[in-house]
């Protein structure tokens, strides 16, 4: 098996699915000739031609709207938004149209598209290039939100997303793109959407994370008897998995790089308060970024949750 980084794993998944299913069409800014600003779509235009890998004008709402129309008319578009911060100008199309088309048409039209976008902090890029506002999209009942945490699950989740009948927002943790290499099977495999994964079993505390925070959490909990849950899908949340773990450990820490208020951690902690309170020995802890816009490079380390902050939170909940 090959050792691949996440860029390679995603590229491989795209190439394999495009070879298998000619309804799959990539559309976005610089995805063709240039292979994408992170080279995730590198080589695909050469291999599949410019009709399958479309370079677009600088037009996020147009890209998203076009992808919706393509999906409704039988294709399986994969729109790329260059950075998560630029999904905002496509917000209406994704949130109010793509995510609602099946419901609006009462099932006549689905919208099987996979919106790929790099997200998250720590790459020393300008403003709006390091957003982590996944909770915005988890409020759309018709949209799945998927976040891989490594090359292996990136490939399997992407293949599953590409075969899902509903729209998927596929958030790629930019910081991890080339950071981690893993064994990635050459062949096809699916990682089921809507299922969290126990990344590390443990007995005394449950730590929930996703995307780029997973790597940090695993480092942070090395000295604890902690169960780490990698959510993988944020909408719908696999709360059965989280509740099952908390039932065992009695303690919960949630870690995300989005700002604290109204992040996805709120929904997880709220569900614990509503459905898991009898398992809890003490307060839930959220380790999150502060309630400010994502800063530039010089301040980013003070913004993103650190290993120390995660450890302190784990120690805190262990007091109960």
């Amino acid at each position: 098996m090959a050792q691949l980084n996440m860029v390679q794993a995603i590229n491989q998944a795209l190439a394999q699915e495009m070879a298998r299913d000619d309804r799959v069409v990539i559309i976005g800014e610089d995805v063709g000739r240039d292979g994408g600003v992170f080279r995730v779509t590198e080589g695909l235009q050469d291999r599949f031609g410019p009709e399958r890998v479309l370079d677009t004008p600088l037009s996020e709402s147009g890209i998203m709207g076009a992808a919706i129309g393509m999906a409704a008319c039988g294709l399986r578009p994969v729109p790329e938004i260059q950075f998560m911060g630029f999904t905002y100008s496509a917000f209406e199309q994704l949130f109010a149209h793509g995510a609602r088309l099946r419901s609006r048409s009462r099932g006549r039209f689905g919208c099987p598209m996979v919106v790929r976008t790099p997200y998250g902090g720590g790459i020393k890029a300008p403003e709006l290039h390091e957003e982590s506002t996944e909770a915005l999209f988890c409020q759309a009942p018709g949209l799945k939100v998927v976040v891989p945490s490594g090359p292996y699950n990136a490939k399997g989740l992407l293949l599953a997303s590409l075969r899902d009948p509903d729209p998927v927002l596929f958030l790629e943790p930019t910081r991890l793109y080339r950071m981690i290499k893993e064994e990635v099977p050459e062949g096809e495999y699916l990682v089921e959407l809507g299922r969290a994964r126990v990344a590390r079993p443990g007995r005394e505390v449950t730590v929930v994370a996703w995307g780029s925070m997973l790597e940090r959490v695993l480092k942070a909990v090395a000295g604890f008897d902690a169960e780490v849950i990698d959510m993988l899908t944020l909408n719908p949340l696999d709360m059965e998995c989280v509740l099952g773990s908390v039932k065992k450990t009695g303690r919960a820490v949630i870690v995300h790089e989005a700002a604290l208020t109204c992040g996805v951690g709120a929904e997880i902690a709220a569900t614990l308060a509503c459905d898991g309170i009898l398992f809890l020995r003490g307060p839930v802890k959220r380790v999150a970024a502060p309630d400010v816009p994502v800063p530039l490079a010089k301040l980013i380390d003070h913004y993103l949750p650190s290993i120390q902050q995660i450890q302190a939170a784990v120690e805190d909940v262990l007091k109960y």
């Binding site: 004008p57 709207g65 129309g69 393509m70 039988g74 209406e92 199309q93 099946r102 048409s105 509903d166």
Partner: protein, 351 residues
């Protein structure tokens, strides 16, 4: 040549059937008298549908409704230019298009009773469920055109929108993409002079809406939108060109919203009786009647028959619509996802 004219553009306007019922023979599209009569019948059907919908609302038997009165020529003329293979992206005011294409009338009424099940378009129609978010259908229609082209289908896409929609970013992004990829799509703008209370002059400083196409590298043409023959000719021509792979076009149909914006609106607050009167004299039905009279088809009796047919069809549709049983609570979840989440399943059970 340091201060040079490097490009020149023209905007054309097309009228074939003028308000007095005279036609320009050189431009007259080839349509049999029976086809012309069909057009007239659907214009009347649209008018009768509209009148009934407004009174159903007044009687409390239907919710807020956006009348289409005055726009019958634009809608029926466009619909006559469409084939069964073409994709249609309507706005919320395209009842005349739906009726002409044979859309089930009870279902057309049903939406305005507050029942979203009406948005499940029957399989035989390549029509998108409209969305009230003005302009949002335009990029989606471009996507449909990409799909049509990708599969080499012998079809085009027709997308309908109003003058107000031309101010939205999505209009721009859609027009621009259609130009870049030279897609098989026709942008049909019903310039009915008003977007609720905002007149076209308040919408844009552009002298015509058709000239907006200049910025996207394809043709925009203005037609007299109360002239069903001009609309038919312009839209047919544009669709055929699109189907032949010769790229997109925009057709601006100059028409008028003769009624209020919706039954919840009072147009008297913002427009003058003189203006309304002027446009009444340009009623698209009137001029078609005059023309058909000149061809010996239209008589008061024939007109009465058409009205009778339309009224009976609408009566029947209203009855059927009112017999539709109300939705079950579980209907809320219909199509939320292909497979509901565990949480949604629990929520559905609780209702």
């Amino acid at each position: 040549m340091p201060d040079t004219v490097i490009a020149t553009f023209q905007v054309r306007q097309l009228t074939i059937l003028d308000p007095s019922g005279d036609v320009d023979l050189a431009l007259l599209p080839k349509l049999s008298d029976d086809r012309l009569w069909e057009m007239y019948r659907f214009m009347v059907l649209t008018r009768v549908f509209d009148e009934r919908a407004v009174s159903l609302q007044r009687e409390g038997r239907m919710g807020t409704y956006p009348p289409v009165k005055g726009q019958e020529a634009t809608q029926v003329g466009s619909a006559f230019a469409l084939t069964k293979e073409d994709w249609i992206f309507p706005s919320f005011r395209e009842m005349g298009v739906h009726l002409t294409l044979g859309f089930p009338i009870p279902q057309l009424l049903q939406y305005w009773t507050g029942d979203e099940r009406a948005q499940r378009i029957p399989e035989q129609f390549k029509i998108f469920p409209f969305c009230v978010a003005v302009g949002s259908q335009l990029p989606q229609a471009v996507g449909a055109a990409l799909a049509v082209r990708y599969r080499r289908e012998p079809a085009a896409v027709a997308v309908f929108f109003g003058d107000g929609a031309t101010s939205k970013g999505d209009f721009h992004e859609a027009m621009n993409m259609a130009g870049v990829y030279r897609l098989p799509i026709v942008f049909i703008c019903q310039n009915n002079q008003w977007a609720i209370s905002v007149p076209v002059k308040g919408q844009t400083a552009s002298a015509t809406l058709a000239q907006k196409a200049v910025g996207y590298g394809f043709e925009g043409i203005q037609v007299d939108g109360n002239d069903v023959l001009a609309v038919y000719a312009a839209v047919s021509g544009a669709l055929e060109k699109a189907r032949r792979g010769e790229g997109p076009a925009m057709v601006e149909c100059l028409t008028y919203r003769m009624a209020d914006h919706t039954t919840a609106d009072d147009a008297g607050r913002y427009r003058s009786p003189e203006e309304v009167e002027y446009w009444r004299s340009r009623d698209p039905l009137l001029r078609m009647e005059r023309y058909l009279e000149s061809r010996g088809r239209w008589t008061p009796e024939a007109a009465g028959e058409v009205r009778g047919w339309a009224t009976a069809a609408i009566d029947q549709a209203v009855r059927e619509m009112e017999e539709i049983p109300p939705p079950e609570p579980a209907e809320l979840f219909e199509g939320a996802l292909a497979e509901l989440t565990p949480r949604q399943k629990r929520q559905r059970k609780e209702r």
